[in-house]
Amino acid sequence: MACHDCDLLHRIPAVADGMTASCCRCGAVLAKPKRNSIDRSLALAVAGLLLFVLANSFPFLGFKVQGQVRETLLLTGIRQLYLQGMPEVAVLVLITTVLAPLAQLLALLYILLPLKLGRLAPGMFHVFRRLRRIEPWSMTEVFMVGILVSVVKLAKMAQIIPGTAAFCFMALIFTLAACMASLDPHEVWNRWEGAR
């Protein structure tokens, strides 16, 4: 195979689980097989989808000032931005915190579930290709930093109460990251070639 960062050709022998094959010229990781890659990613994707539903249906953050409590959903801020005449920013936030993670999870389930049952989902390559393209735009962990900064920023003004959804969202970050990390694309391609 060719290195994706510098184009040098390599002949890679079968790499043992937990070992890494890197490019001898630029050091890019070429192959990194993981144990039970498909099973683990599938399990984490299912968990992630449940967390995603919870994170979007329960109150996210509560804001208590002078006896008044305001509860917000994950989507409230996006709606507010839209209403304040910032549709571009609202759409960007919607994509990076809601749509991209959801698409990621659904794409993973669509590919992995049939693969686990020894079948192939129709058009799985297109889905897989899009999945790779979506990845950088899914910014759940960055959103978490945003939450922390806002909580500190508002701490003087009022009391912030994290809701159920905030905890689910936090768990979703780790689940999604673990899911993508345990997915070995080469394993997916190998299974596909085996099933054909």
């Binding site: 000032v65 897989f128 806002s150």
Partner: protein, 217 residues
């Protein structure tokens, strides 16, 4: 491996950008040189018009960076008093109130990272255009850093989103997003697209394949 190291391009092969399958390049094929037989992605030896696209996006991001920092990103209305904040005035506020860790987070994510990214990309496209053979390994590493850090600049946009959602208490206190946020969001998206359109393999194209190898392939 063959006796002499080769790149996919010099061996008339194409590496699929998605599934990394090696495909023999059909003679006289244009760009894209057909589709990957395994995953169906368009095949390119190098990302198309990588340099021109990266230049365009970097320049656009530089231009948008100015209003993003000059215009206010939020407007706070509290009991009749109105205050507009730019990114820097937010950082200064946190320093003055002694919350320097938060000031550091915002400064790094919103000011330092975008500028660093733009400078690195500028340096990469210029060096590739001048066919520089200078430290290709380190330049590839710089590219990977830009790819990894870009997303963190979104922090400030998310902060604005959350503030706008929470502080919406009518006359008591209200926070509104301002035009600076739009430009800042544009800078983040443009720099991410610029990093995606740059092809690190261009750094290595001036090198002989066996150069810089730490051990024989």
């Amino acid at each position: 491996m063959r006796s002499a190291a080769q790149t996919a391009q010099s061996a008339a092969l194409l590496s699929c950008g998605v599934c990394h399958l090696l495909v023999r390049r059909p003679a006289g094929a244009g760009d894209p040189a057909g589709r990957c037989p395994r995953c169906g992605a368009a095949l390119h030896s190098r990302k198309p018009q990588s340099i021109a696209r990266t230049w365009a996006l970097v320049i656009a991001a530089f231009i948008f960076y100015i209003p993003a920092n000059v215009l206010p990103i939020t407007k706070v209305t509290s009991l009749g008093a109105t205050q507009s904040d730019t990114i820097m005035s937010g950082v200064i506020y946190f320093i003055q109130t002694g919350m320097w860790p938060i000031a550091a987070v915002i400064f790094i994510a919103s000011v330092f990272v975008p500028v660093l990214k733009l400078l690195i990309l500028l340096c990469l496209v210029v060096s590739v255009q001048r066919r520089s053979g200078w430290r290709p390994k380190d330049r590839t590493r710089l590219y990977r850093i830009t790819e990894a850090i870009g997303r963190w600049s979104m922090t400030d946009i998310f902060v604005v989103t959350i503030l706008v959602a929470l502080v919406h208490l009518g006359a008591l206190a209200n926070i509104e997003a301002q035009a600076g946020a739009v430009f800042f969001a544009a800078v983040v998206v443009l720099t991410m697209l610029a990093a995606m359109s740059f092809d690190p393999r261009l750094i290595w194209d001036v090198k002989e394949p066996q150069d810089e190898c730490e051990y024989p392939a």
